[in-house]
């Protein structure tokens, strides 16, 4: 008999049951994939670095005569457990690689060429298989190369380096745990050993472009900074923890995906709880009848728990199957650069859906406790128990200044706000999350972050080839001359400007008996007062420096302390006069006074040339000049402040795709919640709808009443989310920027997007789907006043 009652129930409340099933499916999918992602992400970086074989320290040397220096310095060092060295050839990101169509390929940072046979790390292809060999004449490229140049496997690339020209077939993207992050931005070409040897035959390459990467496993508790500081030509020296920070952006995206999963899980459960509560409340008549004929509470509860268990099992099995492609979809943007996984695998997903099933049954058990309160009288009186309730109507029709339909909608919301809690929570959570991401993405592509990379300028010019030439063969005088030439050329072209640049030296810094190699930045043609400081005053002479909070933490120095810096030709005591923030080198930077004399052999980077027009042109004019300068210097990489920030951070596009994915998922959740809630309201209010129609309300009046109600609740939840999104962005996203070195970020809040566009999209979805669902009220006629149970 129970089965027959169940069958009847499933058939009679088809729509409600289907929607409930849909939410169980979504909850299962979200929980299973969310749990998998949580475990993969939490252990993600370590899992990947271990898989690739990255030890606890890595050193890169470049420049003439540096080959063998790492080995010489560290091979016999007792503090070193294991030393692995890869020999590489360095190239510039421009003018060294050409695509099949003859166009110059673009890369973000220095290129590296390497023989696959000489690899000391594991590199992975797009399917996460370890690359063991590369056929002669073929090549794999790591990092952003494929994305930037839209190159597909099978296409040819030509390497022109020194006097060499070599054409290779691109075999696909390789994942490089050390240099492949957006933050490092280096592209490594993995090639056959014979091809690599051919490259070395070129004299320029052999003499000037060779370098080494040393992977050092340092014994626990030991520090090899002093030994590394003896190695000439060190361009990078980082510990594994620093490397892990390079994945911060990938991890940010992974955690966004993760928080999204958690949000969706919360929404799913809120809606599930509502559905179960609602359907049980709707059953009072049947429950009363069952009690009246002598069926025990326990049996009635078993019937309903059985129904929800069945729905939970069906929904969760489908959800489990869908969780695998869904988790792949969510993690796609993260796994482009990484190999993520965990040692437990699919079992995690199974645990996830088991949790959902248990929770649903627990909900059902909790909600069915109302069965005890339902008496046979409920069946007889159709739920009218004669119970007196406290007054709830506070908004009176006589005092309202709106139409009847709008009044009814407002009055419903004011009179029974608890009925709308599910909508408010779901809409608020989803909208808040979308808006926080919008704020973050907008900030990342706004000029607000420009001063965390450099000083404010009108235009930024990336000319890595020029920088490489200066670093390898030139000197500071050449750089000053190059800047002067560029400024003169611009003035002659009617664009009077000053040009300047920042350079970074790797210097040995000593404080409190410890030595560290830290990137020291110095402006050429700028002064220290051009930069922003968090605390203290700008360095006023060559013996003064500013440090970042990260450096302060690393070396223990504070404002007023004196640190010793080895500038190459001399060591000098410098006083810390200020703190500043930067996202360069993940925040580990010292700012030198412009007069501080540094040995050019310590130079590690020459940043983008900066142009500040002296005739103060408008933004429109700057854009025009940008295009003219592109033609003038034959360089596409001339950027305004926004483009520069976006280029430096490097993940804006990924963030945007995550943002759109999130918006899509939010819209789906919003429309499902809307349909489910509206359907529930219609079922609950059938008698009221029928009586309204009987007394002369038209179909469109009833539909408007329902739409207005959703509009009011949705608008309130979304507007609240928009307001809260501003402090919440600050609260949740600032620690992430802090990890990247920017401890004081001014967020770009676009009121149009935050208060109009995104809330508008979500509200419109709500109204449209509330309206479409409310169309079913047309089927309720005034005749139903006689048919209502």
């Amino acid at each position: 008999m129970f089965l027959r009652i169940l069958k009847k129930d499933l058939k009679r409340k088809k729509t409600m049951n289907i929607i409930l099933l849909l939410f169980i499916f979504l909850a299962s999918m979200f929980v299973a994939s969310g749990l998998y992602n949580v475990i993969s992400v939490v252990s993600g970086t370590d899992y990947y670095l271990d898989l690739a074989g990255v030890p606890n320290q890595a050193i890169i040397t470049m420049g003439d005569n540096v080959t063998g220096e790492i080995e010489k310095a560290l091979k016999n060092d007792d503090r070193v457990e294991e030393l692995k060295i890869e020999e590489v050839i360095f190239g510039a990101p421009k003018k060294n690689i050409f695509l099949e169509n003859g166009k110059e390929a673009e890369a973000k940072n220095t290129l590296l060429f390497q023989s696959i046979d000489e690899r000391k790390l594991n590199y992975f292809d797009a399917d996460n298989n370890c690359i063991e060999s590369v056929p002669e004449g073929h090549v794999y490229a790591t990092g952003l190369f494929a994305g930037r140049n839209e190159i597909k496997p099978g296409e040819k690339i030509t390497v022109r380096l020194g006097g060499l020209e070599m054409t290779l077939i691109y075999d696909g993207k390789a994942k490089d745990a050390f240099l492949g992050t957006d933050f490092m931005g280096n592209t490594r070409f993995l090639m056959n050993d014979n091809d690599y040897r051919k490259m070395l035959e070129d004299e320029v390459i052999y003499e000037h472009l060779r370098g080494e990467i040393g992977y050092v496993q340092v014994k626990d508790g030991e520090n090899i900074s002093s030994a590394v500081s003896e190695i000439p030509g060190v361009a990078f020296n980082g510990e594994r923890d620093t490397l892990k920070l390079c994945y911060v952006i990938d991890m940010v995206i992974a955690f966004i995906v993760l928080v999204l999963s958690i949000c969706l899980i919360i929404v799913s459960f809120v809606v599930l709880k509502f559905s179960i509560n609602f359907t049980i409340a709707e059953e009072f008549r049947e429950i009363g009848v069952m009690k009246a004929i002598g069926i025990k509470d326990r049996s009635i509860r078993r019937l309903y728990i059985g129904k929800y268990l069945m729905l939970a099992l069906i929904g969760s099995v489908i959800g489990l199957a869908a969780s695998v492609p869904f988790e792949n979809l969510l993690m796609k943007s993260v796994t482009e650069n990484m190999v993520l996984g965990n040692d437990i695998g699919f079992f995690v997903n199974i645990i996830g859906v088991c949790i959902v099933v248990v929770l649903i049954v627990a909900f059902a058990y909790h909600c069915t406790s109302k069965v005890k309160k339902s008496s046979p009288i409920d069946a007889i009186r159709s739920g009218q128990t004669g119970e007196r309730y406290k007054k709830k109507t506070i908004y009176r029709i006589g005092k309202s200044h709106v139409g009847t339909n709008t009044y009814l909608a407002f009055n419903d919301v004011i009179s029974s706000p608890r009925r709308f809690t599910t909508i408010v929570i779901s809409f608020f959570v989803c909208t808040l999350f979308v808006l926080m991401l919008v704020n973050t993405t907008n900030t990342m592509e706004s000029p607000n972050l420009v001063e965390t990379f450099s000083s404010k300028s009108d235009l930024y010019v990336e000319d890595v080839a020029d920088a490489m030439n200066l670093m390898n063969g030139g000197g500071k005088e050449d750089l000053v001359k190059s800047l002067a030439d560029r400024a003169q050329q611009l003035t002659e072209e009617g664009m009077p400007a000053v040009t300047y640049v920042e350079i970074a030296y790797n210097c040995k810094v000593s404080f409190a008996g410890e030595e560290h190699i830290i990137s020291c930045q110095q402006g050429v043609n700028t002064v220290t007062t051009d930069y922003k400081y968090l605390k203290g005053s700008a360095p006023a002479n060559a013996n003064e420096i500013a440090i970042t909070p990260s450096v302060s933490k690393l070396i223990g120095a504070k404002i007023g302390d004196v640190v010793t810096i080895d500038f190459g030709e001399e060591k000098r005591d410098c006083m810390v006069t200020a703190y500043f923030q930067t996202m360069n080198q993940l925040g580990e930077v010292i700012r030198l006074h412009q007069d501080a004399l540094c040995d050019w052999k310590n130079v590690a980077s020459v940043f983008q040339y900066q142009i500040r027009f002296t005739d103060h042109p408008s933004a429109k004019e700057i854009e025009k000049r940008k295009e003219r300068i592109k033609e003038l210097w034959g360089n596409d990489k001339i950027m305004n402040q926004t483009e520069y920030c976006s280029d430096c951070i490097g993940v804006v596009d990924t963030m945007k795709s995550v943002q759109y994915l999130l918006l899509t998922i939010t819209i789906i959740v919003v429309l499902l919640v809307t349909i489910l809630m509206e359907k529930s309201f219609i079922t609950d209010e059938k008698s009221q709808i029928a009586i309204l129609k009987a007394i002369g309300f038209k179909d469109r009046d009833v539909i408007r009443w329902h739409i207005f109600r959703f509009g009011i609740v949705g608008l309130a939840a979304i507007f609240l989310a928009a307001l809260v999104s501003i402090p919440m962005t600050n609260l949740c996203i600032s620690p992430i920027f802090g990890m990247m070195g920017a401890s004081d970020v001014k967020y770009r809040i676009d009121p149009l997007q935050i208060f109009v566009i995104y809330p508008g999209i979500i509200l419109l979805t709500t109204i449209v789907f509330a309206g479409l669902t409310a169309l079913t009220t047309k089927q309720i006629t005034c005749r139903d006043t006689a048919n209502i149970e």
Partner: protein
């Protein structure tokens, strides 16, 4: 007296499980202004279906219903809704009301929706209060619907049905859910309204209620089997009127 309603060859057929069920079969009658007509008949005879069809709440399958000279059959749903709002009043057995409104707000709701009179909101509210006062429920004006008794609620429903000053008041078992005392009170109010000029059409099972009407239509299997003129009721004792009606009903097989 002028005819308020004329029903001609009215048929209503339902198809249930591919089976045709002719609920109303060529029903013909007319109602004059100021009449109080009761529709009686056994369960399933088509009383409520007839009431819904002649009040525009349901569409007849064929035939015609003329209300105030206008045929309901050709009217669109919106026109029917407007007619129900402005020219008809309804009382049902179950006292359905909007759950989140007070008694007074429920009563004035049709007036607020109507554009017939051009009155202000305050005037409409005042009229609602006057109606409540007239029906003796003024003290529950600000109560929620679950704070009043069934009798008070049904009187509130009568107030709601009267708020737009309808030409005809349709009532489907208005006392069906009430006890004897409440039932008597509600009928007193309906009779009073009729005496004030409102035409009333009412479905009832209760001969005591029907005995207070001026005319009784007895319907069996979708046909009007008999018509009883009760216009002399006022000239005799209430019990006598009820006895005579019962006798007539017995003759028809009640």
């Amino acid at each position: 007296m002028a005819k308020v309603m004329e029903v001609k060859d009215l048929c209503k057929t339902y198809v249930v499980n591919k089976r045709q069920n002719n609920v109303l079969k060529n029903v013909n009658f007319s109602v004059e202004e100021g009449e109080m007509v009761a529709i009686m008949g056994p369960s399933g005879s088509g009383k409520s279906t007839l009431l819904y069809a002649i009040s525009g709440m349901d569409r007849a399958t064929s035939g015609d219903v003329t209300f105030n000279g206008k045929s309901l059959m050709g009217m669109k749903e919106d026109e029917l809704a407007e007619m129900r709002l402005d020219e008809m009043g309804f009382i049902f057995q179950q006292m359905y009301m909007m759950k989140n409104l007070t008694i007074l707000d429920n009563i004035v709701l049709p007036a607020m929706q109507s554009k017939k009179t051009g009155e202000t909101k305050a005037e409409k509210m005042k009229r609602g209060e006057e109606l409540m006062h007239k029906l003796g429920i003024a003290e529950v004006a600000d109560n929620d619907i679950n704070e009043v008794s069934g009798g008070q609620l049904q009187r509130a429903c009568i107030c709601r049905s009267m708020i737009n000053k309808p030409t005809v008041l349709f009532a489907d078992e208005p006392t069906g859910a009430l006890n004897r005392t409440s039932s008597g009170e509600v009928m007193d109010e309906i009779v009073k309204l009729n005496r004030e000029g409102t035409t009333i059409m009412m479905v009832t099972h209760d001969a005591r209620v029907a005995a207070r009407c001026s005319r009784i239509l007895y319907i069996v299997d979708g046909n009007i089997k008999g018509e009883y003129d009760n216009s002399q009721r006022l000239a005799m004792e209430e019990k006598e009127a009820e006895r005579r009606l019962n006798q007539w009903l017995m003759e028809l097989g009640w």
